[in-house]
Amino acid sequence: MQTLHQSQLLQNPAEAANNQSESDAPPKQVAQAMERLNQAARVIADIRLGADRILEAMFVASQPRHTDMPLQLFLREDASMRQHLQDLRLIGKKLEESGVLTESLRSRSNSWGLHMPLVCPDGAVVAYAWKRQLAGQAGASAVDRTRLALKAFTDQKRRFFPHIDDGLKMEPSSKKHRASHLLLENGREEPVDYKTLPDIQSRLEKLVPSVKVSTYGRLNWLKRANSLPGSGSDDPTEASKPIFQSSSKLRSGLQTEVVDKIAVIELSFPSLFRAIVSLSPAGSVDPDAVAFFSPDEGGSYLHARGFSVYHVYKHITEHAATALQYFLGFGTGTALYSLLLWICSFESVFSKPCTYADSP
């Protein structure tokens, strides 16, 4: 019968696997791991079918009949289920040993820089392909691996955030009213043609004189974030000297930054907040994340997907994520400009009273 046949098949590779030593080359280990994952998926499907059959047998048994057919069904399904579960346990053990469910392969020395396929908690399998590496070709395959990883991430993104690509219709909140108001006012002045980053930047600086807009490539932004004074430093005179030096270095470096490498936009309102917007892909005008921070915060956690240590900026960041989806939902390519204007409307966050809260 089908079920018995399958379990026999599974036992043989299990035995064979026991004989293989760990001196297998990593590509073979990865191939084995992928195969075992597929086997596990098949066994799980069998278990599901077996469970259905058992339920069916129970249903049949509940009908008044005078045969012992249900009993035979039960015994058969019970045996095959036990076998399936046993097989699954075996495969699971093998996978664990080979480091698929944990990340132990990475700690082994001779792994050629390859990674075992990872099983995520939700069941998705992330497999990294590889190329054979000879000395000197490591760089090329790293690029390929990165490209494959990006593809894997994009697939995950499409799977878990399907609405991002389709555009999201959201209810506008009070702050968005303010920003769209601002947009309408300015739209009447000139035709909105802010498709390039320099245009957007100069327009914004004219509209909102108190904001400081700076653009960075990703690596430069990381350097800047790390050079900002952290919230621990209390003495502004001491802290200002190193920033001054490094920011002037960065400024001269920034002038040579090519427009198509710009991936991070920093909007800074002195003494109020610092907003970070990230662009994806670099050089485009498509924002994909935004976060707010205190002007006194510094460190590598300051980026468009990071969170401030202060509640007020955490809340604003959450609102900003919603606003970003709202602006992207229009699909007209004006999302960045709208988002930046919306961010600037927070200039009065500490001075204007909230008009939509219930008064105590």
């Binding site: 919230s231 209390d234 003495d235 502004p236 003494s271 109020l272 907040f273 205190s294 002007p295 006194d296 401030s308 202060y310 509640h311 007020v312 900026y313 500490f350 001075s351 009273p353």
Partner: protein, 170 residues
């Protein structure tokens, strides 16, 4: 937190010395009449003891608890002279942590104090919290809040405390 008063012949006869719990390496000198605040290393106290040119007249301790309410940090403590158990008063520090500009945080602080006073009013406690406004500019301090601002504030509080003590005695 300590406060000293000292005597000296030609120049201002007394100054206030303050050490803050969250700045263990620093010691602050304040001469209110001249609007001077100075931040020094805490080892200056040792030097002064060795010089023997200053004597401590009065020392007050501000001792209490620190609380975090969202982005606000509260310190509430009682004021006690060193060799006595009498509580001279209660001091509360309120700090809004996200921003350092006093001007920008003013509205937020005012709202907090409104809520605080409302909550206290329902409890019918004896006494009232009084916020004394201070012109930091006279001390050469700017809008960005620093430990020196804190030291100046405490100097003012101490002066008030001493004045009330003397009024009670005299």
């Amino acid at each position: 937190m300590l406060k000293d008063q000292a005597n000296q012949l030609e120049f201002p006869r007394d100054f206030l010395g303050i050490s803050l719990a969250d700045q263990p390496n620093k010691y602050y000198f304040i001469i209110r009449t001249q609007r001077i605040v100075l931040e020094a290393d805490s080892s200056i106290q040792l030097i002064m003891e060795k010089l023997q040119s200053y004597k401590s007249k009065v020392a007050l301790y501000f001792d209490g608890f620190q609380y975090q309410l969202g982005d606000f940090r509260l310190r509430v403590g009682k004021v006690v002279p060193t060799h006595s158990e009498n509580v001279r008063g209660i001091v509360m520090e309120v700090e809004y942590l996200p921003i350092s500009s006093m001007e920008k945080a003013q509205k937020v602080m005012e709202e907090f104090l409104e809520i605080w006073n409302e909550a206290l009013a329902k409890r019918s406690l004896p006494g009232k919290f009084v916020n004394i406004d201070l012109n930091f500019g006279e001390f050469g301090l700017g809008d960005i809040y620093t430990p020196q601002h804190t030291a100046v504030r405490y100097a003012l509080v101490m002066a008030h405390m001493i004045a009330t003590v003397q009024a009670v005695r005299g």
